[in-house]
Symmetry: C2
């Protein structure tokens, strides 16, 4: 009984959310600001990847960051050190951001003078995938220690993403992780998924990802 | 506006769920069956840890397993090979199990001739922590590659758990993971949390955990 009730409510929430997300995207287009939604499991390396990405793009693009967390400021502190404009969004226990929360964050951050805003979503492979945040592109990180079977077990997030970053390739020798298998499983879910193996720790492979992102931002903001 | 509406609904769902969870626990007590709820991020090693746990306890206890997954059967297939009674629960996109879904699973599995049932929850550090499943004890796994800051970022799950297994200690040399820091942060959230560092892959440290679990099951079912 409860489950059925919850699902009904979710459906109307989703429809409202999708309309709001479309409105956010239209606003960003008008302002020439690109919003990237970055998702992953806890500990897959979102913040480290973001720091590498900022390092690679900061000379070409004006960047802002929104750090979503349940109630800590650990990541925002790390990003603030990198010297880009950033804010912390506390979800108050919620497992994801929806379009309304993203819009509040964008307003708080101030986006009219930014080319690229990155939203670091809550660490979770399930809920964030269900809510369109208004981002222009969705990226996810799967880290080597998590295993290559994840596209089989968390299908939705692989379906809604445009890019899959396979992080922590520096520890490939210590894990039973099959890079070809993960490509195969991920493309079963989403044939147009762009896949970039990277090590945010060593920097290996990062430039292919940041080149792709720079091109996407220029395309959107031209 | 939407966020507020959702939270109101969640509160009534939580109250219903808690009553149902208490009813499940009372039923299990009468039947002398112990239910363990096992939670973690995706890829932290729930299934491998469970296989090690079954190996250590199968001569002493009659064990059953409920594998919750969004829509795959990957884990149930692995558990079935271990030769214990198991069922797969598909949550149909939901990020957690609530008491009602757990009760359906227990009925389907059949528990009257079992001493220990393990519920392997959906891989997620946020949502499963919010719903009491009716389990006698809650255990979580944090794996070394996820980092020692997780108790700061996902506080609720550390608060509701009785046990924290720190898995993948075999790869400690390759990660910046501070075992003392994670103990300190986890105990800030929950001073009575039992912590066992293990490697489910090599078996190191597993017996301290399974000895603790055996004692808990005997206490509950005596």
């Amino acid at each position: 009984m409860e489950a059925y009730k919850v699902i009904e409510i979710k459906e109307s929430v989703f429809a409202d959310n999708d309309r709001e997300a479309d409105r956010i995207r239209a606003g960003l287009k008008g302002e020439k600001t690109f919003l990237l939604n970055l998702m992953s499991s806890p500990g897959a390396g979102k913040t480290t990847t973001l720091l590498r990405t900022i390092e690679a793009l900061r000379d070409d693009l004006r960047i802002g960051v929104m750090e979503a967390d349940i109630d800590s400021d650990v990541d925002a502190a790390a990003i603030a050190k990198a010297g880009v404009r950033s804010i912390q969004l506390h979800t108050g226990g919620m497992c994801h951001l929806d379009a309304g929360m993203t819009e509040q964050g964008l307003r708080e951050l101030g986006t009219s003078d930014l080319d690229l805003v990155v939203l670091e979503n809550v660490g979770n492979l399930v809920c964030p995938a269900e809510f369109d945040t208004g981002a222009v592109k969705n990226a996810m990180i799967l880290s080597v220690p998590e295993g290559h079977d994840k596209p089989l077990k968390y299908p939705l997030i692989f379906t809604v993403c445009d890019v899959l970053l396979i992080n922590k390739t520096d520890v490939l020798p210590y894990f039973d992780f099959d890079l070809e298998k993960v490509r195969e499983y991920a493309h079963m879910r989403n044939p147009r998924l762009q896949i970039f193996p990277i090590s945010a720790k060593t920097g290996e492979g990062v430039s292919a990802w940041t080149d792709w992102l720079r091109t996407q931002v220029r395309e959107w903001t031209k």
